[in-house]
Symmetry: C2
Subunit: 384 residues, 2 copies
């Protein structure tokens, strides 16, 4: 086990609509869970990284605001962003700074408060993550982009809309067991198939929804980790990549090639392969995204992703459990908070604290968090 940088604390708020608190309070709630039982004082914390996406609330440059509220000044604080994968970009940067010896203990907080905007305005803001000269004015929203990949996938492999829906059946099953998920209703295949079409073939229940929330991951050097916790979870591999923003010049429309790049880097760094992963969190912003993630992470061969969920291999007692916390589909997707929430689930699984969704004997976990339409994937492998 590579013992260089560890996660020593994780926390998150409930993911909700209309949280009714300020962003500083939202971040504090996630931080409070992460520091609980750690005997860590603000003075011990060397830096704060804030992960978020701008324009959903009025506050610009929130890092100092949150640093002050948590009592972390004068330690450095700054902001990172790669839209929906901001949280794991924050973890990747924190990992690097600790491994470099620049800092020993870093708090990473991801947050988003999306309910200050109407759904329509939020979709507009989100759309401007695509090229505002050549793409977004023509309607390249997130559902539209993922629907194109879904159409191509169904066409190429003869997969069905029911197979996509089965991802949501699984994730709604686990969402009902997650007290912090926004959508706790167990959904049947029929309910999903009969839900309104958003962008064919994706229906309402194939899509995750906006939310308010925050998550927190505290990382530390090996020496500090051992001082503060008896249950360090080690960062074994970290990979990232970036796809062309313009979908039409990418090499595939049935795979997110950048996830393959990121996974390759992370597996190589960890000295592990897909067969070594005991539990995974993947970025299921849409049902198709989870299917593509199965294949791009090497859990299934191209075209064989749907079979994995049909065979219940990705349930918590299956061969490769995926999103057994409900995923984005059931938790909700407060953009900057999502990556940290994934890391929290993996860390709790590896610590054996996952309750009735615990994957027996989980020793190695993986989080795949993606910004945009397959644009900014991060893959991080953890072990204990």
């Amino acid at each position: 086990m590579k013992e260089e940088v560890a996660v020593i604390g994780v926390g998150q708020t409930a993911f909700t609509r209309n949280c009714g608190v300020s962003i500083r309070e939202l971040c504090f709630e996630a931080y409070r869970e992460a520091v609980e039982g750690l005997d860590l004082s603000p003075k011990d914390i060397d830096a704060l990284i804030i992960a978020s996406a701008p324009e959903y609330d009025k506050q610009r440059t929130p890092a100092a605001l949150i640093s002050e509220y948590l009592g972390l000044t004068p330690s450095p604080a700054f902001y990172v962003e790669s839209v929906c994968s901001a949280g794991t970009t924050g973890v990747r940067v924190a990992y690097s700074m600790i491994k470099a010896g620049v800092h020993d203990i870093i708090v990473m907080i991801g947050f988003q408060k999306m309910s200050e905007l109407s759904s329509r305005d939020a979709a507009e803001v989100m759309g401007r993550g695509d090229d505002t000269m050549f793409s977004s004015p023509f309607g390249t929203t997130m559902p539209a982009g993922h629907a194109l990949y879904a159409q191509a996938y169904l066409h190429k492999y003869g997969a069905t809309e029911e197979q996509l829906a089965k991802v949501r059946v699984k994730n709604s099953h686990y969402g009902a067991l997650n007290p912090k998920a926004n959508y706790k209703k167990v959904l049947s295949l029929e309910e999903i198939m009969n839900s309104d079409v958003i962008c064919s073939p994706l229906k309402k229940f194939d899509c995750c929804a906006n939310a308010d929330g925050a998550s927190c991951v505290i990382l530390a050097s090996a020496a500090k980790a051992k001082k503060y916790t008896s249950k360090p979870v080690w960062v074994l591999g970290v990979g990232a990549a970036t796809a062309e923003l313009n979908w039409s010049v990418r090499g595939s429309n049935t795979s997110f090639l950048a996830t393959r790049e990121a996974a390759k880097t992370a597996y190589e760094m960890a000295g592990l392969g897909p067969e070594d992963i005991n539990v995974a969190e993947v970025h299921d912003c849409f049902t198709i995204s989870e299917i593509l993630a199965y294949e791009d992470l090497g859990f299934a061969k191209p075209g064989e992703g749907p079979k994995l969920v049909e065979d219940k291999a990705t349930y918590h007692d299956g061969k490769i459990p995926v999103n057994v916390d409900g995923g984005l589909l059931s938790k909700g997707h407060p953009i900057g908070a999502t990556g940290g929430s994934q890391v929290r689930t993996i860390v709790k699984q590896l610590r054996g604290e996952a309750g009735e969704t615990q994957v027996a004997g989980a020793k190695v976990g993986l989080a795949q968090n993606v910004g945009g339409v397959g644009t900014y994937p991060n893959v991080i492998i953890f072990g204990r």
Copy 2:
């Protein structure tokens, strides 16, 4: 000389109003100067960090857009921000990732295109960098914040408005010699003193102005640096800190204490002190900011900053040359681009490529870049 991470290339666009090109083209121009003569292909570049501040132009999450335009996909790309010090935060993160062994060569590009907004709208966006619940609705703009520090400073030390103006006299002298500066007019003490009051005691020519521009810094590990250039400039020390966003709870109103923290860290890491610095770039968003920087960086004792510029010690042939490229006051201040422009000036000075503003025998240089009203300082020390 600590040979771990080096700057191997620097570039910037001219800083202008209404640049008339897209942000991708703006970034390309800075990148082109930085790679000139390096024999570096896109495949050799391991990551791209984009430093900017959101909301000045419509494009969100610009990292992938710029990565694609420069041909750098699928290498990871992401975004960092600490408002006006985003560029040096980008350099600090790049330094850490290279020192950690995560990447070998990183391109950092900072940019801002501010002319898409009216000056009024830009001031509003900028104001929302202060606390949008308790401060910015009451008018805590950047000039207002710095004017409060200026008033307190003049009162405490009996300094004069003429002394502040002498910073601009110096910087306008050097701005006239910088082909990339937006404001090339040499200003007399009288012109500065007679310019319109913006927020007393700060007058128009005590203030820097919005601009469009981009800058680029390419960093590399020691082995790669030596492969690509015969003139590596080494990163010797890196420090950062964060002040409370709420000015009223800070410990001083005549010093930016966070700059003192950041400088302490950077000096300690470099094993150097203020007396070892041959040339410096400081964040002169207002004339008072340069005076405070002299003192907070240890170039002058508290209250003795004004004497430094009066005695011409901060001219290029003085004891401690500061902002001999014209500073923000003469170059203009395209937020995300400013830090990289400072680094470019220091690197060119240390390489002996600074033309008629060359500081004779410069071996150690320092850049101090600050976001907000003293909120996010970065201090980086370079050597050759």
